[in-house]
Symmetry: none
Subunit: 158 residues, 2 copies
DNA sequence: GTCGGCTTTGGATAGTTATTCAATTATTGC
DNA sequence: GCAATAATTGAATAACTATCCAAAGCCGAC
C-alpha cells in the first residue's frame, strides 16, 4: 500500500498536464503510467486531492487542481468565520467543545470542517450555540488546540 | 425566455452564499426563490456558468464559482457579448448609460456584471435597449470607461 | 509467529449529473 | 401579419461518480 502516495502524485501531475474529462480516461492514463486501479479508488483519490471538475462553457468538462491561492483564500474565510462566532473552548481527551455567539454554531462548525485539520473526525453544531468537535483516534484536545493556534494567530484560549 | 438570465444570476448568488452539494438541493433553493426548473436545465445553467464541483477533502462536495484564473476564458465571452450588443456610451458622475442593439440590453448588462469590475455597483437593463451602470462611490464615469478600455482593446467610444 | 486494529482496495451499486430527443417558445426576415 | 429559424426547456435516459461492503494488506504488541 506504499504505492498510494506515489499514485496520488502521478494523478496530480496528469491532471495538471492533460485535459481530462472523465475518471475513465484518467484511469487509462494511469494504467499507461503503470498504476492499475479501479474507478472507485480513483474517485477517492480525487476527493482526497480536492480535484474539481468544471465546465469550459461549451464543449465539455475537465478536471483541475485547486490553485494554491484558492486554498488559502478559502482558509482565510474559514478563519474569519471561526473568529466571528467564537466565544470559548474546552476539551477532554476526545471531544472539543466550542461555545459560540448566538446563531453562529453552524458557521463555526462549517469553518472547522473546512480548515481540513488532520485531528478532526467531524463536527456537529447544536441548537444551543455549541459545536462539538470529535477528534480522530490518537489526537487529543491539546493537539487540536495547538493546531488551531498554528492556523489562527489571533486565537488564544483562556 | 426572459427569465433565463435572471435565473442565472440567482444561481450564481446562491452558489456564492450557500454550501450546496447537489443539483437537487440547489433546485430546491431555486424553487424557494421562485424559479421552478428541472435538473436538466440546471445542469445546463451550471455548465454555462462554469460552476465547478469540488471536494472539501473530508465530508463531502460542494459547488463553487470559477476563480480568477479560470475566469479569463469566461471574461472573453463577456467581452464578446458586450461587443456584440454595444452601440454607444454616455456618462455622468455616477451613472453610465450604455445603448445597445435591439434585444441586447440583457446580455450586455450581464456581461458587465460578469466582468467583475471594481467601479461597478450594479446594472439594470431597461426595456429600451439601454443599460444603466451604477458606479461605486468615488468612481466616476471616466474611471469606468478607462477600465473598460483596459479590458477591451477593441472598445473605443467616439 | 499471530492477533487485533487500521488502511486501502475492488466489485457492485446507489446516487448524481449530462445529454438526447421532442416539444414548445422566442426571434428573425420577409 | 406569417413562415422559417434558432433557443430554451422537460422527460427520459445515458453517462459518470461516490459510496457500501467485504476482502485483503499492513503494521505493532504481544
Amino acid at each position: 500500500m506504499k504505492e498510494r502516495l506515489e499514485r496520488l502524485k502521478v494523478v496530480k501531475s496528469l491532471i495538471k498536464t492533460h485535459r481530462i474529462d472523465s475518471q475513465d480516461s484518467l484511469l487509462q492514463l494511469l494504467a499507461e503510467a503503470g498504476y492499475s486501479v479501479t474507478q472507485a479508488t480513483l474517485s477517492r483519490d480525487l476527493k482526497y486531492l480536492k480535484v474539481g471538475k468544471v465546465a469550459d462553457g461549451h464543449s465539455g468538462y475537465y478536471y483541475t487542481m485547486p490553485s494554491e491561492e484558492e486554498r488559502k483564500e478559502s482558509e482565510k474565510h474559514s478563519i474569519q468565520d471561526f473568529l466571528r462566532g467564537y466565544v470559548s473552548v474546552d476539551w477532554n481527551e476526545s471531544i472539543v467543545v466550542v461555545r459560540t455567539f448566538s446563531g453562529h454554531s453552524d458557521s463555526v462548525a462549517l469553518a472547522i470542517d473546512n480548515m481540513g485539520m488532520e485531528d478532526v473526525l467531524g463536527t456537529i453544531s447544536g441548537r444551543d450555540n455549541v459545536v462539538f468537535v470529535a477528534l480522530r483516534k490518537g489526537s487529543r484536545g491539546d493537539d487540536f488546540i495547538a493546531a488551531l493556534k498554528g492556523k489562527i494567530p489571533e486565537f488564544d484560549p483562556e
